[in-house]
Symmetry: C2
Subunit: 207 residues, 2 copies
């Protein structure tokens, strides 16, 4: 006597297809220029179908950003909380996390979308800040604080400005979308170099 949709899986697949197509089109053309008709065509549905699942174009964008939550971030959070590792190693882990994020085209595209459209759609900026930025910042602060407590680190800039720690991830996301056709960027090399500098800058003895 079930009464819910006969296709719990099919329904989810459809939503996923729409979101994937939307990410593609939004990322390619920008929010305004992207056409619902194209998104529908790419997702293999009719335009009207999109409105069965999403209220409006804007809600579709919000759902899209919301659907790309950071599972990997949670793993790192646990690792830092458990903390058998040294602060230096945790910082290296953070670098690995950024490298991974920069290598994932979907995540990069969502990040770039947020940076591009976030000013006009506060819900987007708010969500991304809450789910990614503030969590990443807390992580950095925890790692630096731990390093300072243990004596590994003798400076505190990233505790005051966590942005300094994840700046290269932001640079990579923007660069790969905007300047890569002009000048290629080795994102993982960039992040590796960044972490190396960060460790030297933090661990250095006071002059």
């Amino acid at each position: 006597m079930g009464k819910q949709a006969r296709t719990p899986q099919a329904r989810e697949d459809r939503v996923k297809a729409i979101l994937a197509a939307a990410l593609d089109q939004f990322s390619q053309a920008g929010f305004d220029a992207a056409r619902l008709d194209d998104i529908a065509a790419q997702a293999g549905v009719a335009k009207g179908t999109i409105y069965l699942y999403f209220e409006s174009k804007e809600r579709l964008l919000e759902a899209l950003v919301a659907s790309t939550i950071s599972a990997p971030l949670e793993a790192l959070e646990k690792r830092v909380a458990a903390s058998p590792a040294s602060a230096s190693d945790l910082l290296r882990d953070f670098g690995a996390f950024m490298t991974q994020a920069a290598a994932d085209p979907d995540r990069r595209r969502v990040m770039h979308l947020v940076f591009s459209e976030g000013a006009r759609f506060p819900a987007l900026a708010r969500f991304h800040h809450r789910e990614v930025i503030s969590r990443g910042s807390a992580l950095i602060r925890a790692i630096i604080a731990k390093g300072r407590a243990s004596g590994e680190f003798v400076h505190d800039e990233p505790e005051r400005f966590p942005q300094l720690a994840f700046a290269p991830a932001l640079v990579a996301a923007v660069w790969l979308h905007v300047f890569d056709p002009i000048e290629k960027l080795d994102a993982s090399g960039l992040i590796e170099a960044h972490i190396a500098m960060l460790l030297r800058a933090l661990t250095r003895e006071v002059l």
Copy 2:
């Protein structure tokens, strides 16, 4: 027997007013959503007048980005070329340059526009890369090379990845447009902390 416009100055003022209004509207609403009618109204001209000076909306955007060339960058370039100063001081100068750039709303808005729309308008990305990014990169490389030659610096990451040096400027431009309503950022503090870390990371003796 003059035959040119009766108003050489008025003509230039009009172009400036249009560009200023365009920056305002593009930056506020994004390229697509910005209305030519609004730009015209804000500039105090009729819509048709814009088309007397610019071929299309897209050309207006390009002209806008092109009109914000970095005079300060040129000063720094000369200073580095002349080079009586130490590499450390030059790096501090570069920090001051970034602070200044981050504090100028117009420049920030242009940067954010390039990051947001550059992927769709290659002419924009190309121009900004040529006039700002590549010149900034060359500057960084020259400063680091000089420091390494003189023995001041014993590491070379920013020479391989100049992006590491100007990442905070990019972060500031994005942050102040997207996340500032949610969490304020002290851009000059950020850049100051960044330069401090950079100097420690570069000058450290080999362990």
